[in-house]
């Protein structure tokens, strides 16, 4: 008999049992995330805001059929595929990975897009924050091997988590140049007892500005944020600007464009769920990265937005231009002209993304399993209040603070008709 198998057998069985029991316990707390028939529910502000463009073959009604009733009884849009399976029509945009494959989907149900934004209307009616439909992006992975916060303990543990996240990460418009507040839904359940189900408006970096992505240091002040009282958050939003494009995309004849440096976006969140007294209940800091956005910041451009696709056709006075890579592929080395930023043939459509799960910490051993916070994840109380958002957080103090790897980098969510804005 292999003694190491002997050593392994009982823990494996126990592990499955503990995960199962934890999951069943959470079901009871999460079960009210969906409600009655969506068709009779009043619409949330986020519902029904998408209309088909000239390239889309689906109707608004077909799109709005993908909806869910939120905890407040209102009807919200939710995940749908880029192509409607029953009819085969196309929506022209995508929301990331189909959540139904996540183990957590059975626990939490469909994600209502824009729920935290809606609650802000009640919590702070003078300072609303609503986001477009395209930007809601889902990513998830089951059974992710995690690292732990200890050199001694790390080789002894096999901490694994199921993670499902949804961030509103629009990479086609000027919104994120100034606005640091975006809806984040974060679900994580690990075999070490770490478990969080958080919906919040996360403040990513400072409002009114972003950080130039190609040097990771220059703060670009753009203008007033929405809402005007947007809180300053941890982390930062790395977004490309014209300087990045000119330096790394338009190049001389001796080298190829470095698209990953020129156009990469990284939204580095730092999130806290806090009690009324400001004490942290839980924190987590996933990073959301997009290698091929359909925009960059251009202070001289209309609406401050420059289009990478346009730059595929641009030539500087010194002869620098886009060479190789995505531009060459899309234009057939310059033979195909007239591809616009929102053309399905443009490779700059934000369909490739990855999420760095990073750290997860909980300090809730003496707290309740269910907290109600304001939409920013603050002022947590055990009982609901107007404009509050329900958060479910395991009653533990994490010691290992499991850190996750990058997920989603191998996926491409593009498909027939998918294009910017996406």
């Amino acid at each position: 008999m292999n003694p190491e198998i002997l050593v392994m057998r009982i823990p494996c069985q126990l592990r499955r049992l503990v995960v199962l029991v934890s999951a069943l316990a959470l079901v009871a707390c999460l079960a009210d995330s969906t409600g009655p028939d969506a068709s009779s529910a009043p619409p949330a502000r986020a519902f029904g805001i998408w209309t088909p463009g000239v390239n889309e073959t689906c109707t608004k009604e077909q799109h709005d059929a993908y909806s869910v009733v939120g905890p407040d009884g209102k009807r919200y849009p939710t995940w749908h595929p880029p192509t409607d399976p029953p009819s085969g029509c196309t929506f022209g945009h995508e929301h990331g990975r189909d959540p139904s494959g996540s183990r957590l989907a059975a626990l939490v149900g469909p994600i209502p897009f824009g729920y935290a934004n809606e609650q802000l209307d009640t919590w702070d009616p003078l300072n609303p924050r609503h986001e477009d439909h395209f930007g809601h992006k889902v990513e998830w992975e089951n059974d992710i091997p995690m690292r732990v916060d200890s050199d001694v303990a790390s080789p002894l543990f096999d901490v694994r988590c199921d993670v499902m996240v949804k961030l509103h990460q629009g990479t086609h418009s000027k919104d994120a140049f100034t606005n640091n507040v975006h809806e984040l839904v974060y679900h994580i359940v690990c075999n070490d007892g770490t478990a969080m189900h958080v919906t919040m408006l996360t403040a990513i970096g400072k409002p009114g500005e972003f950080v130039r992505s190609c040097d990771n240091s220059t703060h670009i002040a753009v203008g007033a944020p929405t809402p005007l009282n947007s809180p300053e958050g941890g982390g930062q939003r790395l977004i490309p600007d014209r300087e990045c494009v000119l330096e790394h995309m338009l190049v001389g004849s001796t080298r190829n464009s470095n698209m990953s440096t020129a156009l990469h976006e990284s939204w580095q969140t730092s999130n806290q769920v806090r009690r009324q007294n400001g004490q942290s209940i839980a924190s987590f800091d996933p990073y959301f990265q997009v290698p091929s956005p359909s925009r960059y910041y251009d202070a001289s451009a209309t609406a401050l937005v420059g289009r990478p696709m346009d730059m595929c056709y641009a030539t500087e006075a010194n002869g620098d231009r886009a060479r190789g890579g995505a531009c060459a592929e899309a234009t057939g080395n310059g033979q195909i002209t007239g591809i616009t930023w929102d053309d399905p043939r443009s490779p700059f459509n934000g369909v490739r993304r990855k999420v760095d799960i990073n750290g997860n910490r909980i300090s809730n051993a003496d707290g309740p399993l269910v907290w109600y916070t304001d939409p920013y994840g603050r002022h947590g109380r055990p009982e609901p209040f107007p404009g509050s958002v329900r958060q479910v957080i395991a009653r533990i103090n994490t010691v290992l603070n499991p850190h996750g790897p990058t997920i989603g980098q191998e996926r491409n969510y593009g498909g027939p008709g998918v294009r910017a804005p996406n």
Binding site: V7, I10, S150, V152, D158, N191, D192, V399
Partner: protein, 209 residues
């Protein structure tokens, strides 16, 4: 001394496999010899004195919990025990078991104190089985950190007494210590209440009475 590698690293022909075969052979030999044990046993049936046992072995120890890797690492192990005859074919005793592994910048160890019962299927035979229930602690430490898991643990084992004289015996033995639902702490902070330990060891012990 590393005997067992991690489960994922074990390959046919590796040292870990060789030692496992040795343990299997040892058990098989004990069982075979037991069939003829009554006739050849030299153990005085009337001996009712306290006996002491010291053993050194090779062992594989592991930390166990629902999210532990369960990876068994090889190392030097051993047992120290005292036993007293209770009635025919039964001896009560107290055993201390230990295991040590160093590597990768940390030291891992198991220490256990276990009251045991030795049961002799043939009252005057050399083969015995042992059962025990005690407390075991798994520890992993470096200069900066310490992880400990202390749990109620059960012990099962088998041994065969080769008489060297009327007062001494050489005992090949195999034992397995396993505990769970213990308190695991990392640098003093509670990690889980489902911590445990597992220690498999096989070796030779000297018993004197």
């Amino acid at each position: 001394m590393v005997i067992f590698r991690g489960l994922r690293a074990v390959r046919a022909g590796s040292p870990a496999i060789r030692h496992m075969r040795l343990a299997t052979l040892l058990l098989a030999a004990c069982a075979t010899l037991a069939t003829a044990s009554v006739a050849v046993a030299q153990r005085p049936a009337t001996a009712r004195r306290l006996s002491t046992t010291i053993g050194v072995s090779k062992g594989a120890g592991a930390l166990t919990c629902p999210f532990c890797s369960g990876e068994g690492k090889g190392g030097l192990a051993g047992v120290v025990g005292v036993e007293l005859p209770f009635r025919t074919g039964l001896r009560f005793g107290l055993e201390g078991e230990w295991w040590l592994h160093s590597g990768g910048g940390s030291t891992r160890s198991v220490l256990a104190a276990v009251p045991v019962v030795h049961f002799y299927p043939a009252a005057s035979g050399p083969l015995f089985f042992k059962l025990g229930l005690g407390v075991a602690r798994f520890s992993a430490s470096s200069d900066e950190e310490e992880l400990r898991s202390t749990s109620l643990s059960g012990l099962v084992g088998v041994g065969y007494e080769f008489r060297l004289s009327s007062r001494s015996a050489l005992i090949p033995y195999v034992s397995w210590l396993n505990g769970n639902r213990g308190t695991m702490r990392l640098n003093g902070a509670l990690v889980t209440d489902l911590g445990g330990v597992s220690l498999l060891q096989y070796g030779l012990a000297l018993s004197k009475r």
